[in-house]
Symmetry: C2
Subunit: 478 residues, 2 copies
């Protein structure tokens, strides 16, 4: 039967981590594959998680003075080419429209891989005076990057994201914005997605095409690999010069403004899966969960059970909890497995014996622990329990991050860690890109970031032996 | 000075209606032109109106059990071709991706002009049993149609919209959904956008490519032309058959489900402009306005005026009004013109004399009428006034619709009305497409709809003289 297929066993993560991930994506009904490789369908449950992420970010953006806009989906090739580093970074992975209606186009148009060039072109029309600054824009949309290998959430040829683009009168203000928006992403990850982050600066090699600085938040997955979960870029006035964006300052002098951009995508849902999921399926932190509580009547045929379950649903709904009851004719076993697969943070069971005792049983999706909840304390105890689950998930993820972060003095030590359990590896670094490349070649890791919180874990660069400038964190990454 | 340019005089609508419209689009800062013809930038103020429309619809959709999903932006040519009528309707105006990365694609992909084929392909994977129905989906996105002539909001090669797609076990249920969603659009238009609508059925000639029935709401613009503002389609099981979507019913028999789709786009913002705007600029109905009240201090240099204005802003904000104060150093004349251009429904003026009298002056953007508002009654009187403005706008638009709706007995009468003031013209009709085409040829009008509320305005078809079957409303349309 179709309905039983849905909750068939998924691959254990210890057996095949990649397959475990894909199994959750499809069996928790987050995505479906479309007819085009790398273009995924976000199904209702997957999209609802994205909507909750959107709601958190959109509110924070607006509180900080940003407004949403909508830019075209297509970029003329000549526009993409205006900033040299940028076009080199993105042109090789663009999808190109060459025919419109029945006619060959005079110039080919790419589907936006990112929209810096569109924002800059627009700004060159509308920015005239210091009164027009700062310009604090954001856009919710999808972008296309024609990747060779693709995976749901982690590497799609199309993915949903938001891209913030801002323009400021001074470097100081723009740099402040860049860091502020990284902090917004860090808050989303830590406080809502229960994913602890490592904040830092990307090396020149790893930064965004055309940026002066790229800041990143890096999260650690179950397999100890890193997921870059959000980035924020400071551009200086390079794009402004390339696009001829100038403003007259208060002394009526023409100047180039300073620019930032920052983006966070549906990739974070992939991060959520690989941070909290287990061999029974997805686990969604309560604050971001489309459904926080599922109520299951036990022995529903017995008098009053269904009515009591319905009453519990109604009371929790009235208390602001995102809750549903499963009154289908599926077996209890099927229901348990199905809602575990979906990662609903709390399952509430109510049966005849519970009713007699004036209680119900709450089961945490974090650790399976059971708690008796007196029925007359539902409205206070369930929100408390949801907060406890939220906290437990964060703490478990934090332990994973801390226990799998190491320091190393030599390239050999780095390689041994990578070949062992993997993880984040701190070393000193001379700052030379040649050493960064050598580390990748010899130990199979890339630089994840130069953490804002620096430590002195040695004196010299483990690759060249020269005096070290900064501490870098290395890792294998998605 | 740049800031004065923004409020330079716009073209009078009586002089050049099309130019008046375009002037409002750019001078009220709703849109900017991009480097690609027909692809427009929605600026913060224009996008904020769209966000308010989205919020109303998204809430209504969800209350009615719909969930949002995200489909790919690209459709393989072979998928588009699966339903014959559909591909004939859309293929000629598609934009085609032929190159991905640096490689020619084996099959060209079009940017979605609408997503029926994508939803059907997905449904063919996930629909198995009656338990999987109904499937009530919606998507917020942009679509592309490679039009020859383009205008902001009214005819873009790219436009933002929502497209609802649903699948039902029975024809009855699907037909009910089709009409229900048309009613949701009608409510949005009448209750929020203050645009009275004419509801009806499209003729076969005017219906959506592949639909059995298309229902429409038609609004009348200042120039007495019609704007099709939202459509809802019943597809029968034609797509389901073409895409092999089947479900086993409760008797375990395989059946084809019945399908609907319905869409409303940023076109409605064009309708808003041409329904309420005047020669001073945009007029936005309060319930949908990004900014409902603008507070202007008069003689702001006089002691206490700015402080009082700030206090008014704070009090109204706390009362849930979308309000801002203009404390810039621009002249009062510039401020008046600027906020009139933006169509903010109520302007509140507060000066030294008003303060002495314990009042402020509210000016309605609908008719310029002034009302003294006692300062101690702000929180009740301003929301009341906003509702009055909302109502006045609707009533004015309703008068325009009623006063410019006519009945005609002959093709000559229809032509005379079209050549005079224009408007909606009711005639009887035999139901023959040849007569519909002839009416267009002879009188320059298309059938807008077969209204749900039928009247008997004659006995025979004015074109062929044969007995009439239904009443049709004709008009010139955007």
């Amino acid at each position: 039967m179709a309905k039983d297929k849905k909750v068939e066993q998924i691959t254990d993560m210890e057996v095949d981590f990649a397959q475990w991930f894909t199994d959750i994506c499809t069996k928790a009904e987050l995505v479906d594959y479309s007819g085009v490789k790398g273009l995924f369908i976000l199904r209702p449950y997957g999209y609802a998680i994205w909507e909750n992420i959107q709601a958190v970010l959109d509110r924070k953006f607006k509180e900080l003075g940003h407004t949403n806009v909508s830019m075209p989906v297509l970029i003329p090739e000549s526009l993409l080419q205006k900033e040299k580093d940028h076009v080199q970074g993105f042109a090789p992975e663009c999808a190109w429209v060459t025919v419109g209606g029945s006619e060959e186009l005079p110039e080919r148009l790419c589907i936006r891989p990112t929209s810096e060039t569109l924002f800059c072109d627009h700004w060159s029309h509308i920015i005239h005076s210091w009164r027009d600054l700062p310009c604090l824009y954001n856009q919710w949309c999808s972008v296309l990057r024609w990747e060779k290998t693709t995976r749901p959430f982690l590497r799609g040829r199309e993915f949903l994201w938001q891209e913030g683009h801002t323009l400021h009168a001074t470097e100081e203000e723009a740099r402040k914005e860049t860091l502020q928006m990284l902090e917004v992403y860090a808050e989303l990850c830590e406080e809502y997605l229960a994913m602890p982050v490592l904040r830092g600066n990307k090396t020149d090699k790893e930064k965004f095409a055309g940026a002066v600085n790229t800041y990143t938040i890096e999260c650690m997955m179950h397999d100890h690999k890193a997921l870059q979960s959000g980035t924020s870029h400071y551009f200086g006035d390079g794009f402004a010069q390339a696009f001829g964006i100038q403003f007259s300052d208060k002394e009526n002098k023409l100047r180039y403004p300073h620019q930032t951009s920052w983006g966070l995508s549906t990739r974070t849902i992939g991060g959520l899966i690989m941070t909290h999921g287990d061999n029974s399926g997805l686990v969604v932190p309560p604050r971001i969960a489309p459904l926080q509580v599922i109520v299951l009547p036990i022995a529903a045929h017995r008098p009053g059970v269904t009515e009591k379950a319905e009453e519990i649903v109604a009371r929790l709904q009235a208390a602001g909890v995102r809750v549903k009851g499963d009154f289908s004719d599926n077996s209890p076993g099927w229901k348990f497995a199905n809602w575990e697969m979906k990662g609903v943070p709390v399952r509430l069971e109510i049966g005849p014996k519970d009713m007699e005792a004036g209680k119900c049983v709450a089961v945490s999706r974090c650790d399976g622990s059971k708690t008796d909840i007196p029925l007359d304390a539902l409205e206070t105890r369930i929100p408390e329990l949801l907060e406890e689950v939220q906290k437990s998930l964060f703490e478990r993820a934090k332990r994973n991050l801390e226990e799998n972060t190491f320091s190393a003095q030599t390239v050999d030590e780095v390689r041994q860690i990578v070949e062992g359990s993997g993880g984040f590896i701190k070393t000193m670094w001379c700052g030379d890109e040649a050493c960064e490349l050598k580390m990748k070649e010899l130990a199979g890791v890339t630089s994840r970031c130069i953490p804002f919180e620096q430590e002195i874990v040695g004196d010299v660069c483990p690759v060249c032996g020269r005096p070290a400038k900064t501490m870098v964190v290395w890792g294998q990454a998605y």
